[in-house]
Point group: C2
Chain length 323, copies 2
């Protein structure tokens, strides 16, 4: 991906800032972010244009779409669990936001979109789950909003000749993450080093993709995909479980004698709407010639190390003690 | 379906008014309709409650949801082709409207929904198309909006214990229809009996379900479905093509020497976003014990007869000549 004018929505966020870092040298990158979970400091060292704005606002997104070649659309509510208490946020941000992006693309004649979809669109599907699995019955609002967004990308692609691609991400982990099990465990252990509460029964088994592989895979998929619209799973070939992640985090924090305990949860889930076992087949993207460098356990360990360094660094900076 | 308080959205419309006719004797039926394509005269002879309102308006739908047992959600933009010139209407009416219905159901503790989905969610899938076909890549905004709506019904079902069912309709035809190929042909022939323009190349082959079978099937599916959320195709076991439909309409109008000609169209389609060949597998609902009484050709012929009678009746009434 070179010499393109790329708009990255959510570009100051977790995955977004890694995309910026990867793409800004060889392309003209504009970041569009409302800074609700993204942070300016994530991208301040890169030579890019930053526009503060919200995908829910049609005028704001239309304005920034002028003269772009492609859109990497990552802006979304990043908190899958929030749907438990609020079924509107995913609909508005993830779905309506995507519709607004697509309609602005049509109006400004922008001809390519890479979309951050999710394994959650499959609901509780048999694993490893292939892209052609059906019927799609998401069990969370996050999953429903991502599937709704995919549907519209498909229609916009076919109706207006926009090249679209939906990447269905496994759990993406790494530096600058602000949600998810690793982040939660570190936060909890910083408050109390004697014990660690694990949501669900601890046997939830999922695939974890390091953010560096995620960026690598999504660029590769867009460049090598042939159809006007297509979808690819993006994950690893293995899985790990929540109890194992707890042990890795404890180890990486150099803690000892931490008492791990589980909350149980309905059907062993971490929360209502949580898919208990997630493993995406990555045969489709492998057939294009790509595979992730890290497996799930390796990705989790590296992410834990990165997040621990970051969080401790920040805490120390905040308290004025430095590092 | 007996002794239930049923809310029928779009109940004054084509499919809706047939549902009312079928259900009002043994249930307490409330019709909610904005009368944009529905008509009061369709339901004036039935003992029901009518509330004029729009599913796009949260307050209106919430008010009418009070004290209902189930919702038959048919309110939608009925014009698949309109997406060609307006990509917003389906999103707003079919998708946001469905979200509003679902959220009102949650707030008023209504525990069942029957949803009118569509064959168009499959995009250009191999035929006959089964419910578990994937990946779903709709090529029209109508199809995208229906798939987006299905996604949310699935999530609401799983998150709040609402029994949901999506019926993916083939082309539904019959009395009181206001759109579609049969209706269009009759209208055109009434204007000019010497020739009939056929959109596309005339070989478009699709499955046509008579509205009486449609109502029968959707009630049967809801009553016999076991999962908290499920989806069923609703169609016939055969198909017919557009040229054949033209011949049937000409015959039923007792016309002779009508010159049929086709417009061609991109890839032989009737319009941009038209799926050229549609045939739904109905094995899944058949395995529950249901099958339609009419095949496609029979349904088309009966619908043509019904619509011709209706349209001529109306024209004659309007001109004061009676019948």
């Amino acid at each position: 991906m070179k010499n393109l004018k790329i708009l990255i929505t959510g570009g100051a966020g977790f995955i977004g800032s890694h995309a910026v870092e990867r793409l800004y040298r060889e392309n003209q990158v504009t970041v569009f972010d409302n800074l609700s979970s993204g942070k300016i400091e994530h991208i301040k060292n890169f030579n890019i244009k930053f526009v503060k704005g919200d995908v829910r606002n049609k005028e704001e997104i239309l304005k920034v779409m002028e003269d772009k070649d492609i859109v990497l659309h990552l802006a979304a509510n990043p908190d899958v669990r929030r749907g438990e208490v609020d079924n509107f946020i995913d609909m508005e941000v993830n779905f309506i936001g995507t519709y607004n992006v697509l309609e602005s693309m049509r109006l400004r004649d922008v001809k390519g979109i890479i979309f951050s979809s999710s394994s959650t669109i499959y609901g509780e599907a048999p694993i490893p789950t292939k892209e052609d699995y059906g019927p799609l019955e998401p069990i969370s609002f996050y999953g429903a909003s991502k599937l709704a967004a995919e549907s519209y990308i498909s229609a916009f692609s076919h109706m207006y000749g926009i090249k679209g691609i939906s990447l269905r991400f496994a759990n993406v982990v790494g530096a600058r993450g602000t949600h998810g099990v690793i982040y939660d465990f570190i936060r909890k252990l910083m408050k109390d080093k004697s014990k660690l509460e694990i949501l669900g029964d601890g046997t939830q088994t999922k695939s974890y993709l390091h953010v560096s592989d995620c960026i690598d895979g999504l660029i590769f998929a867009f460049e090598n995909s042939v159809k006007i619209y297509d979808e690819y799973n993006l994950g690893t070939e293995d899985t790990t479980n929540v109890l194992e992640i707890a042990r890795i985090v404890v180890e990486e924090m150099n803690l000892e004698n931490v008492r791990l305990f589980t909350t149980g949860g309905e059907g062993g889930r971490g929360w209502k709407g949580d898919v208990k076992n997630m493993h995406l087949s990555i045969d489709k993207i492998k057939s294009l010639g790509w595979r992730p460098r890290m497996g799930s356990t390796e990705a989790v360990r590296l992410a834990a190390r990165e997040l621990i360094g970051e969080i401790y660094g920040k805490e120390n900076t905040n308290s004025g003690s430095g590092l």
